[in-house]
Symmetry: C2
Subunit: 154 residues, 2 copies
C-alpha cells in the first residue's frame, strides 16, 4: 500500500545510491539523545532549565563576567543568553552591575541565593550525567565522550 510511494532504491553492489533512513541519520539520533537527557535533567532538577543551570554553574566557576562573554562560555548567542539571564535576574539568582571602564558592558555575577542554589544542585547535576550515560559501560562512556567531543568541536 505504501510501496508505490517513497520507495528508496539500494544498488545491488553494496553502497546505496540514495537510500535514506531518517532514523539512521546522526542529526535525528542526536536530537533524540538530547531529548532523553533533557527529560532526565528535568526529573532531577526541576528548579532550573539546563541552559539556566549552565549559566549559573559557569558563573560559579569563573566569577563575574560580561553577558556576552558568559554566553560564549556556555555556547549561547547574545540573544539567547540575554533571555536566560533575564529569567535568572527575575529570580534574584544573579546580580547585574555596570562595568567601570567600559560603559557598554554589564557585569553578571551570582547573588548569595544563586551561589547557594548552585552549590546545592551541583551533586544532582553529576547524577544527571551519570543517569544519562547509564546505558553505556564505563569503557563505552569514555569512548563516547571522546568521539562526541570531537564531533561537537568539528
Amino acid at each position: 500500500m505504501t510501496a508505490k510511494q517513497g520507495r528508496l532504491r539500494v544498488l545491488a553492489g553494496g553502497k546505496s545510491a540514495d537510500a535514506y533512513d531518517l532514523s539512521e541519520q546522526v542529526g535525528f539520533i542526536l536530537r533524540k539523545a538530547n531529548q532523553r537527557h533533557l527529560a532526565i535533567f528535568a526529573s532531577r532538577i526541576s528548579d532550573l532549565t539546563p541552559p539556566q543551570f549552565a549559566a549559573l554553574a559557569k558563573l560559579y566557576e569563573v566569577g563575574a563576567t560580561s553577558q556576552n562573554q558568559l554566553g560564549q562560555l556556555v555556547a549561547m548567542d547574545a540573544a539567547t543568553i540575554k533571555g536566560v539571564i533575564d529569567r535568572l535576574k527575575a529570580r534574584d539568582l544573579v546580580v547585574l552591575e555596570p562595568h567601570g571602564r567600559d560603559r557598554r558592558r554589564l557585569v553578571v555575577s551570582l547573588s548569595d541565593e544563586g551561589r547557594s542554589l548552585i552549590e546545592t544542585l551541583l551533586p544532582e547535576a553529576l547524577e544527571v550525567s551519570e543517569e544519562t550515560l547509564a546505558p553505556l559501560t564505563p569503557r563505552e562512556t569514555a569512548t563516547f565522550l571522546r568521539l562526541l567531543t570531537k564531533l561537537a568541536e568539528g
Copy 2:
C-alpha cells in the same frame, strides 16, 4: 582573583568528590554537537528546518498518516508536530484530509510539490550527515552511531 569563589574540590586519591566541569558534562557537549549539526544542515538546506525535513522525509517513507502518529515517528509531541505541519501546510507541501472512519483524526500526506521537494533534498541530507560526521574516521563513526543510538534509546 576567581579562586575565592567557585573552587571545586578534588580529592587526593583519584576520584573527585564534587568536581564539576560543565564542559565535560554529556548534556553540554550533546547540545554543542547538536548546534554544529544544525549549522551544517542550515548551510546546505535552507529551504526547510530539520524538523520540517524530518516530517516530510517520514511522510515520503510511510505515506499518509495521522498527525499524532507522524509525530511519534519523528519523535515530536503533539503540540510540536502540529506547529511543524501547520508551517508545511502553509507552503502547500502537505495535504490534510479528514479520516474516513475516525472523525478525530486528520490524515497528512505529501502534496506533489512536497514530494518533489523531498526527492530533491534527500541527496543533500545524506551529505549533511556526512559532513557532520566528517571529524570522525569511518571506524569511529560506526562506533559513535552505535553508542549514540544506545544512549538515545535508554
